[in-house]
């Protein structure tokens, strides 16, 4: 593969993310990796459900009293929107419009950052109330499940930032197109996991 090969929107392949063997490998490999991640989160979900509301004798926290839906709802909106903006970015990537792709990815990152800040605020709020990681089995499983998701968001943010700065001068080529594409896959995955967290942890916690 030649990095210096110059493309125009006309010569740019229809599926740049799997135009070369290396790209195809990354594409398939990343899908498989997300399969493994799904199992990882499934295990975390199962554990959370088993340990929900469980604590030492005289335990005072319960999902009903702890969670505050409005905040979580705003977080959900931010993350869902960021998924949409990453779709725009990929649309421009396929059309070889590097600037617009970078712009939309930048917006995606900002929305993700907003989500993460709110999550950190949420966590610190809980900790202030005494609901710390080592408070109970419930708190351990809650922070591990939601925290693992948050950690994934943080990784995604670092990843996209590196991509944006690294390629700012290089522009789009067949080598980094896959990198952008796998990032967007990853970002969608995080989004889907959050939808489950929102439903299983928060909605079912407050209503169920």
């Amino acid at each position: 593969m030649d990095l210096n090969k110059k493309f125009t929107p006309e010569t740019w392949p229809e599926h740049p993310e799997r135009a070369t063997l290396e790209a195809k490998n990354k594409f398939v490999g990343f899908w498989l990796f997300l399969g493994g991640e799904t199992i990882l989160f499934a295990t975390l979900f199962a554990t959370y459900m088993a340990l929900k509301n469980k604590g030492p004798s005289g335990f005072e926290f319960s999902t009903q009293e702890l969670y505050e839906l409005p905040l979580v709802f705003v977080m959900t909106l931010l993350l869902l929107t960021s998924s949409l903006t990453s779709v725009y970015a990929m649309y421009h990537m396929k059309n070889f419009n590097f600037k617009k792709m970078q712009l939309w990815l930048g917006i995606t990152a900002l929305l993700g950052l907003g989500f993460l800040s709110l999550e950190l605020y949420e966590f610190s709020h809980y900790v202030k109330e005494g609901f710390t990681f080592s408070n109970s089995a419930f708190s351990s499983s809650f922070f591990t499940l939601v925290g693992t998701h948050g950690f994934h968001v943080a990784i995604g943010l670092v990843w996209v930032t590196l991509l944006l700065f690294r390629n700012a001068k290089r522009g789009l080529n067949l080598y980094n197109a896959t990198k952008y594409y796998t990032f967007s896959l990853y970002w969608h995955f995080i989004d889907v996991v959050w939808v489950f967290i929102f439903t299983v942890v928060y909605l079912m916690g407050v209503i169920g």
Partner: protein, 626 residues
């Protein structure tokens, strides 16, 4: 390549191995690493058997005995059997599908170093004197109660090694999906490739639960988590579920590649196509699938209730069907063939009765009410050694003899190989057959010693003598390897003369780019087809000789893993020392920087030119390799 390597200085060669991304070299590294841990685990096993030689023995203390059984099990499963099989997968599978490397050479190297540092981390526990002692299953109440850092070594060491395994699994999957040579359809893949494929898929779905379980354990022990502490609302049964959701597929991850190796051996040394190839493939996939449905049969006595026990009992028995299909297809493969009993074939022939015996005792334990008696008795010890030694270890030893000439260009001595087999095989049955009865007679497993007068003395002595015979077998094997390396008699492409798959049509050892031209595959057992149609090279090129793109070596995998290794110590000591936390952060940061360095550079690999390849072909012709 080897002649070039010899001319270089030791330092350069060492650097070459540290930075290699060549699947063949990584395969050999896996074999060396796994072989080292295999010997280590074997020594632990010998001490266990010596301690149990006679009643009321006090060769080792009770605490040390628990260290030994834990480390024996953990080492053999995670650090010996799996890495050695990975060695074969790495070396052979890309050759079998006509590929020049695996899909992610960099990640391949990373996977190896993670296994290596994970194993190192785990075994440093011996030097610190605080060794894991809750059994290889590390059930939560005991693993939380265990004092010292033993279990911490287990949790972090396996976390690192397990991460490497997951990467290797994804890598093999993508390699097989994307990099098969033209004409190599799924239903033309050799069975070893198929079993690698299914085992890798199982790794992908079985290892994340282990990762999560180990994180829970790490959190509970080192970061004040409460997943398993029942006084804080936790639940130890969660660990058992998570462990076995991983642990049961794990044993199929081990046995399937072993099945693959035996399928290759049976076909080569019977000169016959594998009988019922589609059924074999289907059975492999089915075993892989069912392997995820039966984990709770390890937990029949936990008190899950009769309904759960009944469901898992029936599901467990169902696995016997595809396994039986495999056994009979192997029998029909040698039936009507032209059998020659070489050392690899001897291992394959020894495997059939041994594995059948291990398999049927598995079905017996699947009968839940019967398992209430057999569970955690010596019967189960006998059972899993019958399947793992009688299946996996025999496959490893057979595969070693089979592929040694392909990997190193020189044959292991056949006579010594057969002597190894006889000692090992006789010793194996002597050690473990009698243990079924020890279980019937009421001897629980994992006992440090036993009282006189319970009728167990003779049986235990027989068992220990058997272990000694196995050890002699392994020592003969080591002698054989040393002698073979010293003699270094070179062999050609197909030293067994009846090779059927692509790896037997290229030089031994293969050039670093494997195939001068990508081969065209026209059916199952491609090389056999070509040769029987008169093409004695065994290969039909799918393309003219052209430039080959190869990846660059890199030291980054080593550095990344080293960071994790350092971070592990930080995590372990952060509660009691002031340096723990900084070291943890430093290690993680180190890994992150190394990873970023990788992702920021443009590493596009290099090209081997047409002329170089043509020169290699001409040299090989002169040397009579074709």
């Amino acid at each position: 390549m080897s002649s070039v390597a010899q001319k270089r200085s030791f330092g350069a060669a060492f650097w070459d191995w540290m930075t290699t991304v060549d699947h063949k070299k990584i395969g050999i590294l896996y074999l060396i690493g796994g072989g080292f841990f295999f010997v280590l685990g074997g020594i632990e096993a010998m001490i266990i058997r010596l301690q149990l030689l006679k009643p009321n023995n006090d060769l080792v203390s009770a605490g040390l005995f628990n260290d030994l059984i834990t480390m024996h099990g953990t080492t053999m499963i995670f650090l010996a059997a799996m890495p050695i099989l990975f060695g074969f997968m790495n070396y052979i599978m890309p050759l079998q599908i006509g590929a020049r490397d695996v899909a992610f050479p960099f990640i391949n190297s990373l996977g190896f170093w993670m296994f290596f540092f994970g194993g190192l981390f785990l075994n440093i526990s011996w030097l610190v004197g605080q060794v894991p002692d809750a059994g290889w299953t590390s059930y939560a109440s005991l693993s939380l109660a265990s004092t010292g850092h033993g279990i911490d070594f287990y949790a972090i060491g396996l976390q690192i090694a397990g991460g490497g395994t997951l990467m290797a699994g994804i890598n093999f999957l993508v390699t097989i999906i994307n990099m098969r040579a033209p004409g190599m359809t799924y239903m033309r893949m050799p069975l070893f490739t198929w079993t690698t494929f299914v085992a890798s898929a199982m790794i992908l779905f079985a290892f994340p639960p282990l990762t999560v379980g180990l994180f829970f354990l790490t959190f509970d022990r080192m970061f004040n988590g409460n997943f398993f502490d029942h006084t804080m609302g936790g639940n130890t049964i969660i660990w058992e579920h998570i462990f076995w959701i991983f642990g049961h597929p794990e044993v199929y991850i081990l046995i399937l590649p072993a099945f693959g190796i035996f399928s290759e051996i049976f076909t080569i040394f019977s000169r016959k196509r594998l009988f019922g190839y589609p059924a074999m493939v289907f059975a492999t996939v089915l075993i892989g699938f069912l392997g995820f449905m039966v984990w709770a049969h390890h937990m029949f006595t936990v008190g899950l209730g009769p309904t759960a026990n009944a469901i898992f009992a029936v599901a467990t028995m169902a696995i016997a069907v595809p396994t039986g299909v495999k056994i009979f297809n192997w029998l029909l493969t040698i039936w009507g063939g032209s059998i020659t009993v070489t050392t690899p074939m001897l291992y394959a022939l020894g495997f059939i009765p041994s594995f059948v015996m291990g398999g049927v005792t598995g079905v017996m334990q699947g009968a839940a009410p019967l398992d209430y008696q057999l569970h955690d008795s010596y019967f189960i010890v006998a059972h899993f050694h019958y399947v793992i030694v009688g299946g996996v270890v025999l496959a490893i030893l057979g595969g070693l003899h089979l592929y040694w000439p392909k990997m190193f260009g020189t044959m292991l001595n056949e006579t010594l190989g057969k002597i190894t087999f006889i000692f090992f095989f006789v010793g194996f049955h002597c050690t473990f057959l009698i243990q079924h009865w020890l279980g019937f007679w009421g001897m629980p497993r994992r006992v440090w010693t036993y009282m006189d007068g319970q009728g167990w003395n003779t049986a235990n002595m027989i068992s220990s003598i058997g272990a000694l015979l196995m050890a002699i077998g392994v020592i003969v094997l080591v002698i054989n390897i040393i002698m073979t390396v010293a003699k270094n008699q070179r062999v050609g492409n197909d030293p067994w003369h009846d090779g059927r798959t692509l790896e037997w049509a290229i030089p031994s050892p293969p050039p670093f780019y494997n195939f001068t031209t990508t081969p065209l595959v026209r059916g199952l057992d491609s090389v056999w087809i070509e040769k029987s149609e008169g093409n004695m090279t065994g290969l039909t090129p799918a393309e003219p000789v052209s430039d080959i793109h190869m990846p660059n070596g890199s030291i980054i995998p080593f550095l990344m893993t080293f960071g994790m290794f350092v971070a592990g110590f930080g995590a372990m000591y952060h509660q009691e020392t002031s340096w723990g936390l900084p070291v943890l952060i430093f290690g993680l940061a180190w890994t992150f920087v190394a990873m970023s360095a990788r992702s920021l550079q443009d590493d596009l690999g290099f090209h081997v030119t047409k002329e170089e390849i043509q020169r290699d072909i001409d040299n090989a012709r002169k040397g009579g390799q074709f």
